[in-house]
């Protein structure tokens, strides 16, 4: 895995990172940030469950950038580091993760790794803990987390080192008055 950017920054004076590289394609960037803001702004599925799924994706896809970013909305919903530490193999036995979060993690693993993980009891548990609308939102989220992590990695945008960084949760941008 390369930590040397394979594409230059599209913003003068800024190093290559996901945002500055996406500036080469401003229409894609604008559409993505509108989508991501809408996704995180929706409360159909809690930000905490979305962040649990995002953390799992970060670990499985080996996205160091994703792994070190935290969104503040999920922190406000009690997703502390002691909980994040449990989002690893064996999460099924965690006493800190809720049953709904474990069901969401199984769905995440099935989508990003092996669809056969979501059969029988796991599928029933997902449908017991989440509504169809919540599963739809979770499906969108994991699709985006996975795709963007892989795009980031393959464009060589993995940081060599990065501290844990809390960022404002993406939000819908208000049109200028």
């Amino acid at each position: 895995m390369s930590t040397i950017p394979r594409v230059s920054s599209g913003v003068a004076g800024e190093p290559a990172h996901f945002g500055s590289v996406l500036a080469h394609q401003p229409e894609i960037a604008e559409s993505f940030f509108a989508l991501y803001g809408r996704f995180w702004g929706s409360d159909v599925l809690s930000a905490r469950i979305k962040e649990v799924a995002r953390m799992r994706n970060a670990r499985v896809t080996e996205c160091g950038f994703c792994r070190n970013v935290r969104f503040d909305k999920a922190l406000g919903q009690g997703l502390g580091e002691e909980v994040v530490d449990d989002i690893t193999d064996g999460y099924e036995t965690s006493a800190r993760l809720t049953d709904a979060e474990k069901a969401a993690l199984k769905f995440t693993d099935a989508l990003i790794h092996d669809p056969d993980l979501l059969t029988g009891d796991a599928r029933a548990a997902l449908q017991r803990h989440l509504t169809p609308a919540q599963i739809a939102e979770l499906g969108l989220g994991v699709t985006l987390f996975l795709a963007l992590a892989k795009a980031l990695i393959t464009m060589g945008l993995e940081p060599e080192a990065m501290d844990r960084t809390v960022l404002p949760t993406p939000a819908v941008l208000e049109a200028a008055a």
Binding site: Q25, L35, F39, E62, A133, T143, K150, M155
Partner: protein, 130 residues
């Protein structure tokens, strides 16, 4: 329609945002590379066992190397080398490489979403192909 779009039928605004993002990614490679968009989706789907691989005998070398790169996305994304990426950049340009990277990664994720049955789980009767 992709499985993800179908799954979002209950939230038309979010569905429209997703369709717009998908469409903008596609449009960034069209019209000059409009054929590449479909070929990339087909090549990635074939890796997942979702249909036949594209027929490549009549394709130019640049398109072939893009497809070879896209086929690495599902299971070998961390093993793609700087040289492989540089070859795609040389063919598509930097802006094209950015759009292509998002397109190929999204194609992979959409296949996986279809395989896990996201639309059916979201209450949509049929789970469409990616």
């Amino acid at each position: 329609m992709s499985a993800v779009c179908a799954a979002l039928a209950g939230d038309p605004v979010l569905a429209a945002h997703y369709a717009d993002f998908r469409g903008k990614t596609e449009a960034a490679l069209a019209p000059a590379l409009v054929a590449l968009v479909a070929l990339v989706r087909q090549a990635v789907a074939a890796v997942h066992g979702m249909g036949a691989a594209p027929e490549e005998s009549a394709l130019d070398e640049g398109t072939k190397l893009c497809l070879a790169y896209a086929r690495r996305m599902p299971f070998e994304h961390t093993a793609i080398t700087d040289a492989e990426a540089a070859a795609v950049v040389a063919h598509l340009g930097e802006a094209g490489f950015v759009a292509f990277s998002v397109l190929a990664a999204l194609a992979d994720a959409e296949c996986r979403a279809a395989l896990v049955g996201v639309a059916e789980l979201a209450g949509v009767e049929a789970n469409p192909t990616p």
